[in-house]
Symmetry: D2
Subunit: 283 residues, 4 copies
């Protein structure tokens, strides 16, 4: 069922819901899902509606025009998207296949509503797996002495494939600041720890040294500061003294891929709103 | 902060949210929490608003009068409650203290917004614990040859204390059908299994025989059919071959008290709507 | 690191551990993992040792001969296996790919220590995915009027490929009793509910009707009685009133594949001992 | 059932289990529970046996004498304890009652095998609750200008009551270094975050600022470095954008009391071994 998704953030005050829902009802909009959140601390209001496209007399452009006065009246940050226009998500990976294989299978079995125009990797290892899915694979090695060259090629590919979002599926390279800014709130990374614990390299090794009893993973939007962007989703798995670092890596993989897939799904369905470096996730 | 809670269930159609939110906005109502659910299967719509009482020009009676025409127009089942009018919850227990002690402590530390006018038990064991909290304790033994006599006394007490709800905190006796009907959707039981597994007596014993790897607990509204009422909340805990039935009982206690406390909290805050023997829980 | 795995079940009495560990120490065996369990209810004792193969002066045959007198003295049910001799696991699937793809990827990335000599399916849908992994795919349609014919072909294939174990990765067909008996404790099924709830067909549909707040999956050894064999592993995921049956199916897939993969891993590493239709899992 | 608990840590080498189990079998010891762990990283071996006291011809002193040569041969750190000699645990609290009430109820209902000779608090608020349990309550205010005076009184009480262990049940004061050293591996603290995230003050406030999706609690042995001691147990609970800091505090309480109670239980049953600032927990 094709839906429009109306996503709004604005300073909270009386009458927002009434105005928006009256607008929708006035055009006979059939709301299939509605979510609201008033944040007391920031004084902001967040709202997401999913509306049957066939119930409205609008296409997106007409909707935008008709809704603009309301948006202005309430100083809204807002967007409307069409479930029929699938987002174009470029996946980036390195040598580890678990997150990539998981996303590819979910896409292949129609669980993820997106297009995957290409996969970019700094190694050539996963080419055959990707190409079996009928997806172009681009090997862009990252020479430590010429990272700029590599990322200029990455930028070119991202542009060429008209990417709406990037997913760092254990890419293991730090994106340059300009790419982070250009794709603000549209680059999703999976970090293999329960942030803010164990920022940076070798988090399972760090976890083993500290002797924690749970290990985790975090999917978050990438910002210029390493592992500090808005958290979309997290989860953990129990470990004991018996698990070696290698076994923690194995157990962690399952958490990583689940947490990344859930985070990406929320993003694709326009369920994530960012404010003050934190997320509202209307799941 | 004192709030009114407006809880609505009705057949789904376009315009319900617009009507209700316009009504609220028209009276300057400051909504602090709003939840909606459209159930595709049944075609019903469910809605809960929490509104700052001081933002509305109404008391409950005036609200009811003003809202009645809308309710009628949309064939709503609805209620409005005032957070300042705490529900009166009679706790019923037997010999096991864990659920009762947990609820009493939550009440004592102001975590549960209710009054506990009295505790009724078929044994006298827990009197001192209850009375330390300043709550009257009624020992109503249940003679297997005269259950009717016992429950007629229970009914009398429930009436005398003007109970809004009953909580069977491991009461271990089956309530008579007339009491179930009188307090429909207002009697909460905790069953010590993950329903529908292990209905009836000795669920941990049954779980041990079957060799399950997780045990659980279920809080549900009591209906005339044993352990078959609408489920409010469930949770589980992992076990292994090492746990004896006695250890399953110990581990299960922690799940039972958490699941009962969460279920009761949802009920007290008018977050539970029942339809087709299932619950919508706006948590 | 190559290890021998010594797995023992016997009536409990004083001196078993001393005898076994003295035997191992007497031959300079380097124990890397040791697990014990005394079951009070049945009076049985269970034990698993993992020993560095290079620390022992034995091959498997010599070990068996040397250990036999101890095994006889204590009436042991026992086996010794060699981690270097990978089990041959035939996967059986139907149309749903999630469990099969998950197991294939774990195998492909060397997470599962087994061989997969072939995949058998009653449909031809998943051929390409399987063949990409370099694994033969056999399409054996199951005609409801001639199930015997189909399963005689399955038996032939299982024999031809010298299978040590079968995994029903959402195979959706009931194995004939003789195959169940022949492969007792060597056929692993994934059932898409938290057993013993929702035995049989359409468990998510059943779960939706009952209104449970958690759904689950169970991996178990197959016996002649449907969904009643010894449980190896279970897990659950939280749902709410918002999840439709379709969404429960989607969420359940992730639990199914995790629970099946964990159950299979336990089996492959000889961590599962069966007694009285229950399992001891030395994880 | 009265048991002896033999707990051993030593450098790993061949023959430890054989020697110990032969010693036990030679004296007809009936082992009810046995756990082993070889730590590859440190090269240490850890072991815990629970043995029916009535099966051995020893009291503790005689056991110690008989076992000493083995302990010396393998350079063991070891202890043997008698389940009949309950540990004396002094609880320390401040104003928050949830952890204290939880531990008191578990003790009262015979779930925790220990004695609680007294409770010490820097406030007088919880006196009545403690005294209802028949336990002496000592109010030792901590004047920020004379912490030394307060802790000298605490030390005196701990000595007077012959404490075997201290539990900081949300005590909110930092113990002086000498007390930490004197009771090394015998002071258990509950920290209201998932360490190492959010060390120090106001962890829920920190968690809210960072926008995490799970909050947790950690029970650990206290060392001189704040919140850095060996972790015994941890757990988490899921939160969303809806939870205010106040609601995180409420949800966190349930995790804190569970994690503290589990950690204390492991300690009381001699299930925790400390090595390299990490724990082996034979649960």
């Amino acid at each position: 069922m094709r839906t429009f998704r109306l996503v709004i953030a604005c300073p909270d005050r009386v009458g927002i819901v009434a105005k928006v829902s009256s607008f929708l009802a006035g055009h006979n909009g059939w709301i299939t899902e509605a979510s609201h959140h008033s944040d007391n601390q920031s004084g902001w209001f967040f709202m997401r509606h999913e509306i049957r496209a066939d119930s409205l007399p609008f296409d997106l452009a007409a909707f935008r025009q008709a809704f603009a006065p309301i948006a202005q009246e309430f100083s809204m940050e807002w967007r409307i998207t069409d479930s029929a226009q699938k987002k174009r998500v470029v996946l980036m990976a390195s040598r580890e296949s678990h997150c990539l294989a998981d996303l590819l299978h979910r896409w292949h079995s129609n669980e993820l509503e997106c297009e995957i125009p290409c996969v970019i990797s700094n190694h050539d290892d996963l080419r055959s797996m990707v190409e079996w899915h009928g997806i172009p694979y681009h090997w862009v090695p990252v020479d430590p002495r010429d990272k700029e060259g590599a990322f200029s090629e990455v930028s070119r590919l991202v542009r060429e494939y008209r990417a709406d979002a990037l997913v760092l599926a254990r890419y293991m390279q730090i994106l340059p600041a300009d790419l982070c800014r250009e794709f603000a709130q549209r680059v999703i990374n999976i970090h293999h720890s329960f942030l803010p614990s164990f920022v940076g390299a070798k988090p399972y090794h760090q976890a083993s040294l500290r002797g924690v009893k749970l290990i985790g993973a975090t999917s978050h939007y990438v910002t210029e500061e390493l592992d500090a962007g808005p958290i979309i989703e997290q989860d953990v798995v129990r470990i004991t003294h018996r698990e070696t670092t290698e076994e923690m890596v194995r157990l962690g993989k399952d958490v990583e891929k689940m947490v990344l897939a859930r985070g990406l799904r929320f993003h694709l369905e326009d369920r994530v709103l960012v404010h003050d470096n934190k997320t509202v996730v209307f799941d």
